[in-house]
Amino acid sequence: MKENIIELNNITKHFGDKCILDNVSLSVKKGEFVTILGPSGCGKTTLLRILAGFGSADSGEVVINGENITDVPPHQRPVNTVFQRYALFPHLDVYENIAFGLKLQKVPVDEIDTRVRKVLKMVSMTDYEDRDVESLSGGQQQRVAIARAIVNQPKVLLLDEPLAALDLKMRKDMQIELKEMHRKLGITFIYVTHDQEEALTLSDTIVVMNEGKIQQIGTPTDIYNEPQNSFVADFIGESNILNGRMVKDRLVEFAGHEFECVDEGFGENVDVDVVVRPEDIYIMNKTEGAQFTAKVKTCIFKGVHYEMLVDTDTRHELMIQDYNAFEPDTEVGLIIRPADIQVMKKERICNTFEAEIISEDRVKFMDEEFECKPQTTFAPGQKVKAEVKFNKVELIDHPEDGMLAGTVYFLLYKGDHYHLTILTDDGYHIWVDTNDIWDKGDLVGINIAPKDIKIIKCDD
């Protein structure tokens, strides 16, 4: 087994009150192409900056090549960075930009010359050495930026969304070239992107991040076929995510039907999330022999395949991709193979808050006092837990009319309802199941009825 070249141990970082990185640990093997993938604001760039030394972590340590470099300044680290907006030196020409690092290391002039010409050839920019960098196109500037970094033969190359500013065609070409370059150089690449397709194409290992936490680490096929939670399933590719119930080992119930699956060890009658990729649902014109039936709602041509939305016999909406078109309003039969059903443990089954009893019928959580069912089990001042079911949280249009105000932060369609993540103004998360349609970023008021607050004893 190859040694780990990078080890990040328990990295935590706050900007003001906001937690950007929450106890992130990651190890990378020598020569790997690792992609850190996540939506904007998930902390991926902050993590890269901590690796490069431009930002420091509040706690945790960075080890590269067996050396603890947590407090080493950036210019002494054995890493080089390719920046999103290239960051070439506009007062120097292409050659001088690439030679910048070598000149600082006092490398002999003739060696600089051979090395610069070698990398210029590698990024196919041989005839551009005397050009002014600002006269180059975006793609060419990015090639120079890559050349400038790899000419120093770093142990690790860090790439911060290097292709984000390029157009689609150029991006595809550069992806292939980057992969090729990685193969030839044999150095470790850490690649940050929000583009899931790019991550699937390029990487040996993908690290999916959200809200400062690592959601899943795995190979592209692992991440795609066996997402560990609904965030990963939703973020990588198209997917149908549904509430399900594990009846027993190898038998799962969702969308009103029981299906054979290959998962076991969840226990019996346990609530789970189920993911089925749209291309894994077999669709046919005849209904006999099908596991369940549905009616086609829409059918859109997508180039290679058709994308259809269907309503199942149990009123669940599913997305299906198939090479054949099925006209709207036709009755179709559907089959899902056991191996194509991905069962995931539910991250949470209801909202749980740390709470404090104020009086017999009042309880305080999320910095707010709520009325609850009168009880005498717990004395005022006692620390307890308050539970609220997802579908018992009421959302209203006007934030000022609710007990709490918040914004819709993340939404997930689960076939017959939406599962929303609401971020309150005080920075708490509430999860809500609703049939109403909300958009990401909507301002909402939040109400909870007294009878829906369940108070239970703290574990400790």
Partner: protein, 267 residues
């Protein structure tokens, strides 16, 4: 018709603005001692100015020398100080940044006479004997904000990753400053230097209050004293004309640079 009035307006405005200087320039080509009497075309005042064949030549030449040397020192020092200050301000965040940027603007809006008197009082309070050094210090004080103001926009335009890229490639913070930051800020620093130089050349009030009693004269104080002694020395007329042309040339150079820079940015 509307167009005609608009044209007239601009010409009247220009005439009012430039009449005094044109007046002096025209009368620099006649020998009359009293300004306003035309006694025939002559370049004698010019030749007097350059051959030194005039009353009080020594002190005039001395004043010019002082003016230029003080302006050069003040511009150089304030360019260095102002650039460092601009980098510092640029790296600050939020409230503090706004506050400092605002404080930088106040001395520029402050009337010269207030700057002069307050510096005078400060030097007296600190028992610094006034003379060459205090004048230079005073000039640096009021020139620096102008340099800050011309360097700051260059920093804001700069890709924030550039400095980090230099560090990343192995430059120490000082090397990154020398090899990357300073070359990129150069256009702003040069504009700042020229601005500071002209501000210093042109200053009267601050110099007057901080020069003390040792008889130090810059051009502006010399002319002031000379005019009070009873009429302007005629040779000052060609000198003013030459200075005006010099400043005009400098301004053209600055503007050309600006146009070139914006063109580059567009590309």
């Amino acid at each position: 018709m509307k167009r005609f009035f608009a044209q007239c307006y601009i010409w009247i405005l220009l005439i009012v603005l430039y009449a005094p200087i044109v007046f002096i320039a025209v009368f620099s080509f006649t020998e009359s001692k009293v300004l306003g009497n035309w006694t025939g075309f002559s370049t004698k005042l010019y030749s007097n100015l350059f051959t030194g064949n005039m009353q009080g030549t020594g002190s005039l030449m001395h004043a010019i020398e002082n003016t230029v040397i003080i302006a050069l020192i003040a511009a150089t020092v304030s360019t260095i100080l102002g650039t460092i200050a601009a980098i510092g301000i640029h790296n600050m965040r939020g409230r503090a940044k706004q506050a400092i940027a605002f404080m930088n603007n106040i001395p520029m809006l402050n009337p010269d006479i207030i700057t002069g008197v307050s510096l005078f009082l400060l030097f007296v309070f600190l028992h610094i004997s006034q003379g060459y050094v205090t004048v230079v210090l005073a000039h640096i004080t009021f020139c620096t904000p102008y340099v800050v103001l011309s360097v700051l926009p260059k920093l804001t335009q700069m890709n924030p990753n550039i400095y980090e890229a230099a560090l990343d490639l192995g430059a120490t913070p000082f090397q990154a400053l020398k090899k990357v930051l300073i070359p990129m800020l150069k256009p702003g620093m040069i504009s700042g230097f020229i601005l500071a130089f002209t501000m210093s050349l042109d200053d009267f009030a601050v110099t007057f209050f901080t020069r003390g009693t040792i008889g130090l004269d810059t051009l502006s104080t010399y002319i002031y004293t000379d005019a009070r002694k009873g009429g302007l020395t005629p040779e000052l007329r060609p000198m003013i004309t030459i200075m005006f042309l010099g400043i005009l040339l400098l301004l053209i150079v600055i503007n050309m640079r600006k146009i070139r820079n914006t063109n580059n940015a567009v590309k």
